[in-house]
């Protein structure tokens, strides 16, 4: 009996322990939401939801995967560029306001936007005086120059954009790690608060380039020894409203307020929450469920909820009131390759354009709400040059496809009975899988047979669709893709995917392998010093028109996403420049927060 009694005592203790543990968790989580103002469906697309200046609480983010890096000089994803503003301020940035207003470029740590001189070859910025890093040291032009210099060493910081290397004069500079006594001569600092960039050729969009995180200042003396270089990501010196408290790489980040930051440093950011936590590698469906349960504040990746949560939100009025059909600043489209036979014939490409059922493609991408409106152009609606009337293949007026016209184009192509061609898509993107299946079905109506080839996203461009030799060997004449422009402008959208100069042997983003002299010249002209914004818009519109006439690209949707906002989060709105919520201005209204008490 003694043994039995001890077993029951242990069982009772375990039960009591479970109850106590559960109670402990209730106390720490399960925020109920304070119910802010104007919480209605899609309110965040055009207005600030739950506006508040309340300070305190913990703002919790979760990420479905891991970042490239948290080093401002080594990141490229849209969510990273949004998130980095919490601990780093660039020379220029985007205005913090809802809707189309957020596409406007404004000064960051600079006193104003840059001014160009020397026939557009020199861009000058003045740094605000009195700004400080999180360690109390002053921010100067030399820190911005060093931040740019270090990005030249692609063996240490491989993932960021390469605009400085391609635009500035001394492209062969090896970076300060390999050449500690060298100097990037194309960036000069006439005085501690002035910085000049000397370009090899004019580039009117340069103000957008310096809005990328590579101009977040880095003090040279903090990028040294065992905590510098590849390890700088673990604790970068902050120039934003928050600083690193702890970071376990690819696992968890905790930010706390930067005591030396003032709103003058970046008027577009706020310092409201007393702590910000980012947990990485959280199951995507788990993120959605935690958001809806009030246990989590923001999905850091910012690409909208998954299909399961989407259905739940749209069918529940109370959940729907906390959701936004946000513009994702992305085009989903299909590359029509110009080198793979018979897609190298414009009529065969046009047959594909006509035969595709755009409605089915839209449904595959998530439907009109979470997928987005059917697209008929390459330019996004928020970009200069966009022409809403450009619809050469009746994508909007006849979204089911025009079979008669498709057959006529097939005949003109010499393939009256159709043809076989390979199609590449990403197997780990459920919407793209559905879109590939839908396209296969719709093209079969005119005798075009697609051989579907699925690849993982991680190596899609580096090993498969982005390697022209591989594309040719496997007859991948149709390749699914998507593009988020580096800045909300025609050049940011078009240059990488349509300029002949962008064709590369690996990591190629011009998958259609378009090398059209007219397009190349228009893109070149748009960067000339004398071009005005109106002229540039006209150039981009022409590029769009030629692209559609030549059927280089089959647009699917101007991507939208269904975002869910925890009612506890304040100052929530969709920011078009980043294609997601603006992370730099958020706070929480409930100070008990949704942290798990850790």
């Amino acid at each position: 009996m003694r043994r039995l009694r001890s077993v029951s005592v242990a069982a009772s203790a375990l039960a009591i322990g479970l109850v106590l543990a559960a109670c402990g968790n209730i106390g720490s989580g399960g925020s109920s939401g304070s119910g802010g103002s104007n919480e209605t469906y899609n309110a965040g697309a055009t207005s600030v939801v739950n506006p508040s200046s309340h300070k305190g609480g913990t703002l919790t983010f979760a990420l479905k995967n891991t970042p490239d890096s948290l080093d401002p000089g080594n990141m490229y994803y849209a969510w990273e560029i949004d998130f980095v503003r919490l601990y780093g301020t660039t020379l220029t940035t985007y205005k913090s306001c809802p809707g189309a207003c957020s596409n406007k470029l404004v000064p960051g740590i600079a006193t104003g936007l840059g001014t160009s001189s020397d026939n557009g070859l020199t861009w000058t910025y003045h740094i605000k005086k009195g700004l400080k890093f999180s360690d109390g040291e002053p921010i100067t032009a030399a820190d911005v120059k060093y931040a740019v210099e270090r990005t030249y060493d692609r063996s240490v910081l491989p993932t960021g954009p390469t605009y400085f290397q391609s635009l500035l004069q001394d492209s062969s500079y090896p970076g300060p790690y390999k050449d500690p006594h060298g100097n990037l001569s194309s960036v000069t600092t006439p005085n501690p608060y002035e910085i000049q960039f000397h370009l090899a050729k004019p580039f009117p969009d340069f103000n957008y380039v310096v809005a990328l995180p590579q101009t977040v200042p880095v003090p040279p003396d903090k990028d040294k020894g065992s905590t510098g270089g590849a390890n700088y990501q673990k604790d970068p010196v902050s120039s934003g409203p928050y600083e690193f408290q702890s970071y376990q790489v690819n696992s968890k980040l905790t930010l706390v307020p930067n005591p030396h930051w003032t709103p003058n440093e970046d008027p577009q950011a706020k310092q409201l929450a007393s702590k910000i936590e980012l947990t990485m590698n959280v199951n995507a469906n788990d993120i959605d469920n935690r958001l809806m349960a009030g246990d989590l504040d923001i999905d850091a990746y910012g690409a909208g909820v998954q299909a399961a949560a989407r259905a739940k939100i749209l069918s529940s009025p109370s959940l729907k009131n906390n959701a936004d059909d946000g513009f994702a600043n992305r085009l989903w489209y299909i590359y029509l390759n110009t080198k793979v036979s018979p897609m190298n014939n414009v009529h065969c490409r046009q047959a594909v354009e006509y035969a595709a059922n755009k409605k089915d493609l839209q449904t595959a991408q998530g439907g009109p709400v979470a997928g987005g409106p059917i697209a008929s152009t390459v330019l996004l609606p928020n970009e200069a040059g966009y022409d809403k009337n450009l619809d050469l293949y009746q994508a909007k007026s006849d979204p089911g496809g025009n079979i008669t016209k498709a057959k006529q184009e097939l005949a003109a192509c010499g393939q009256s009975s159709g043809f076989h061609v390979g199609a590449a898509y990403r197997t780990d993107n459920p919407e793209e899988v559905s879109a590939a299946t839908a396209l296969k079905a719709s093209l079969a109506r005119v005798g075009i047979t697609l051989d579907l080839h699925g690849y993982p996203t991680g190596s899609y461009y580096t090993n498969f669709a982005g390697v022209p030799n591989y594309v040719h060997q496997h007859d991948l004449g149709i390749d699914f893709g998507g593009w988020v422009p580096d800045w909300p402008d025609g050049y940011g959208m078009l240059d990488d995917i349509l300029n002949g100069n962008a064709i590369a042997s690996a990591g190629n983003t011009n998958v259609s392998e378009v090398n059209n002299p007219e397009i190349n010249n228009l893109l070149q002209d748009s960067t000339s010093q004398t071009s005005t914004p109106a002229q540039r818009a006209s150039d981009y519109a022409k590029v769009d028109q030629i692209t559609m006439q030549q059927a280089y690209i089959l647009p699917e949707v101007y991507s939208h996403e269904l975002d869910y906002r925890n009612p506890d989060v304040t100052n929530v709105y969709s920011d078009q420049a980043y294609g997601m919520y603006n992370y730099a201005v958020m706070g929480v209204s409930n100070s008990s927060s949704s942290s798990s008490g850790s």
Partner: protein
């Protein structure tokens, strides 16, 4: 006995070397045989629209342009003797066992795995206690109450437990106990060093979910073993001696029936310590299983090599421990 143990340990090391060669071959040799050169391999790690110079810089830095045998030699040398790594601003010493540096994060692989190990260990050890105690207890009772409602109910539940995948039971557990009723809200891993209470409360659902699967299996195995054992002659003899039924069951019946269970238990625990992929993914726990998925998704070859080696180590170690325990129990094994 000492000779036996030494022999087993040598076999263990040789097995790990074979595993390392096979893994290295799969991820480094096969892509080359499929036509991928080191330049294309390096292009995966240089971001979007890389310049040729940038790819070549990365190719040289990662050592991908060296002969495969040299790359494999560096890998083995790192594990045994450590190696230096250039972080850009310093030459950092990575002491043995150095499994190299991540091609993506440029962080040493070993500390990352050691950060993930406590998560997996918390999960595996806690769940294993639950399933061993629960599974064996239910199995014994079912065997003793053969044919009763309890037996049928428990075996029916066990069948469900074996049949239902973790990503289903885990999701149901989360839906009910976390999202809906908020008994265990916001389940996430909290280190035991931070808070014992939160570590425990956040582990309950993953433990129960994982243990449910294994306990079901163990209950069925224990029941079968007990039914067989309780029909043996020595049990009849024990009863004939007048021993109380409790002693007959625990000292004679269970002891004989549980031996194969313990063997399987060692293997299962070894397997789980290498990463409980489904459970960690369902509950978003940053353990070795999730580390493995992340490494594969990122095509991060050093991380893949490291985690495969560590998982193999646990499995081989568990095998060796089981072999040694067998030898302790049964001297005939030592000479086999």
């Amino acid at each position: 006995m000492t000779t036996f143990i030494i022999r087993r340990l040598i076999t263990m090391v040789l097995l790990l070397i074979v595993v390392s060669m096979v893994t290295f071959g799969i991820f480094f040799l096969i892509p080359r045989l499929a036509g991928q050169n080191s330049y294309e391999l390096a292009a995966q790690y240089v971001g979007r629209n890389p310049t040729k110079a940038a790819i070549m810089q990365m190719e040289a830095k990662l050592g991908l342009n060296q002969p495969l045998i040299v790359q494999y030699g560096h890998f083995l040398k790192g594990i045994v003797a450590g190696q230096y790594y250039n972080s850009g601003t310093a030459r950092t010493w990575c002491g043995p066992p150095c499994f190299g540096y991540s091609f993506r994060t440029q962080q040493p692989v070993w500390p990352q795995m050691m950060n993930a190990l406590p998560v997996t260990a918390s999960l595996a050890i806690g769940a294993s206690v639950l399933w061993l105690v629960g599974g064996v207890a239910v199995g014994v009772l079912s065997a003793l109450k053969r044919g009763t409602v309890f037996d049928r109910l428990s075996m029916g539940t066990a069948l469900a437990g074996v049949s239902l995948p973790i990503f289903f039971t885990g999701q149901v557990a989360l839906l009910l106990f976390s999202y809906k009723w908020q008994i265990f809200p916001n389940v996430q891993y909290v280190p035991i060093t931070e808070s014992v209470q939160y570590w425990f409360s956040n582990m309950v659902l993953p433990w129960v979910t994982l243990a449910f699967l294994y306990a079901a299996l163990y209950a069925r195995l224990t029941r079968a073993g007990m039914l067989e054992t309780m029909g043996e002659d020595f049990i009849r003899t024990a009863r004939a001696k007048g021993l109380p039924e409790r002693i007959v069951v625990t000292r004679h019946g269970l002891r004989a029936a549980v031996t194969p269970i313990l063997t399987i238990f060692g293997m299962d625990l070894g397997l789980l310590l290498g990463g409980a992929v489904l459970t960690e993914t369902t509950f978003s726990f940053p353990g070795l299983g999730q580390f493995t998925i992340q490494a594969i998704n990122n095509q991060d070859l050093p991380e893949i090599m490291g985690v495969v080696m560590l998982a193999s180590f646990f499995i081989v170690l568990a095998n060796t421990v089981v072999d040694i325990l067998y030898a302790v129990v049964d001297p005939r094994v030592r000479t086999a």
